[in-house]
């Protein structure tokens, strides 16, 4: 790819989605954008680039953004965040929200749905403990294509074996030929919406918990700061933010601090009502 074309896509992605495309990711452009060029009738990537320099069709720009957003995911990805959700977040919320019995969770880049559905299954496993409670999971993504996949809730044999315990597969999925379809009792717990993390967040409402894992790494420092500071306005004082293992707020914002003795669980610095996590001794 020509350097001028790389610059063009870099600027386009930054402007439309806030994503930072670094030169080490330039190899992704060829492999991901060639199908887009073909779909829109361009013989080469160069001819698509030329069209983009004019007044491109919004549909073409949307397809380019979708193709370049990373959709790496699996059920219970990294496991630890889900254990921490069950052992730290859930006990706190069950106590702190006992009068309202209402909890809202946002999966901020839900991709093909494995993360929100993992949370839904985890909550279902709690059984009678959550009777009478209303847990609402809102899952958003910038790609309408992955949102459609997520809503469908059907996965390949390979996908259901990455991270998903076999007992959960047996309990919450139905086999449809060589695919595995989530049962409605899990699917109905998640609401999907298209959302760009750079857009105003207030319309999404308040959230007690936000999962924003392995997303911020694709944004530059200023964008990360803006996104996290916007998120803090959506959360009560005792809200929880889950970031990915390679992500941090250090040197970016003071809106959140890492909860001691956790991995990737962030709370507001002024919060005094969440019980500290004790280190488990053998």
């Amino acid at each position: 790819m020509r350097i001028s074309d790389f610059d063009l896509y870099q600027a386009l992605l930054k402007e439309k989605s806030g994503l930072t495309l670094t030169p080490d990711k330039s190899y992704l452009l060829d492999s991901r954008l060639t199908p887009v060029a073909r779909k829109h009738g361009f013989a080469t990537l160069e001819s698509m680039s030329t069209a983009l320099r004019g007044i491109p069709k919004p549909e073409l720009v949307k397809d380019i953004i979708e193709a370049m957003t990373t959709n790496e995911t699996s059920f219970f990805r990294d496991m630890k965040p889900f254990e921490q959700f069950r052992e730290i977040t859930l006990p706190h919320l069950l106590k702190a929200r006992s009068s309202l019995k209402r909890v809202r969770i946002w999966c901020a880049a839900s991709s093909t749905g494995q993360e929100p559905y993992s949370l839904a299954m985890l909550l279902k496993e709690e059984g009678a403990k959550l009777a009478g409670w209303n847990f609402e999971i809102v899952a958003t993504d910038i790609s309408t294509e992955v949102l459609e996949t997520a809503k469908k809730g059907e996965y390949s044999q390979f996908e259901v074996q990455r991270g998903l315990p076999i007992q959960m597969l047996m309990k919450y999925f139905e086999q449809k030929g060589d695919r595995w379809a989530l049962k409605n009792e899990i699917k109905s717990m998640v609401t999907y919406k298209y959302f760009n993390l750079l857009d105003p967040m207030a319309p999404l409402g308040r959230f007690d918990v936000i999962f924003c894992r392995n997303v911020l790494i694709y944004f530059d420092r200023e964008m990360k700061k803006k996104i996290m500071e916007n998120m803090t306005t959506l959360m009560p004082d005792d809200g929880f933010l889950f970031l990915g293992g390679a992500e941090t707020v250090l040197g970016i914002t003071d809106a959140f601090k890492l909860m001691e003795n956790t991995r990737g669980v962030y709370i507001k610095p002024a919060c005094t009502t969440i019980a500290p996590v004790q280190v488990k001794t053998a």
Binding site: S74, M79, Q157, F158, Q161, R162, G163, P165, I166, Q167, L169, M170, Q175, D178
Partner: protein, 121 residues
């Protein structure tokens, strides 16, 4: 070092599986059918067993049922690894005492994920 017995009548599958479980830090032994696996377990009980279903002489499910009757036979964590990919087979394996179930084809990520879920890693 924990040990893993790979039971499969395909030499190629055993070779691939051996490489993966050794990379996960297990000492690996192989058996080509359920009967050989049973004889191995009578002498040394492994920590983990990666088990095929359809094999000559003794099938994987028959082996598992016998294993769980043996003294210390509840010790090993058993992960089925088979082309049988329907709910009825999965249910039968779990009822017989399997700890996890892998539907072939598999890769290192799936094995690692399953081993981790049942506390082997």
């Amino acid at each position: 070092m924990p040990s893993c017995l790979v039971v499969d009548d395909s030499r190629v599958v055993r070779k691939v599986a051996r490489r993966i479980v050794e990379d996960l830090g297990f000492a690996c032994e192989e058996a080509e059918d359920g009967q050989k696996a049973y004889e191995y377990c009578a002498k040394t009980m492994p920590d983990a067993i990666l088990l095929d279903w359809n094999m000559p002489v003794m099938s994987g499910i028959e082996f598992l049922e016998k294993l769980r009757q043996m003294p210390n036979g509840n010790g090993p964590k058993v992960i089925f690894c088979t082309t049988e990919n329907d709910l009825a087979h999965i249910q039968r394996a779990m009822n017989a005492g399997a700890n996890e179930y892998i539907m072939k084809p598999f890769d290192s990520e799936i094995i690692e994920s399953k081993f981790s879920q049942i506390g082997l890693l």
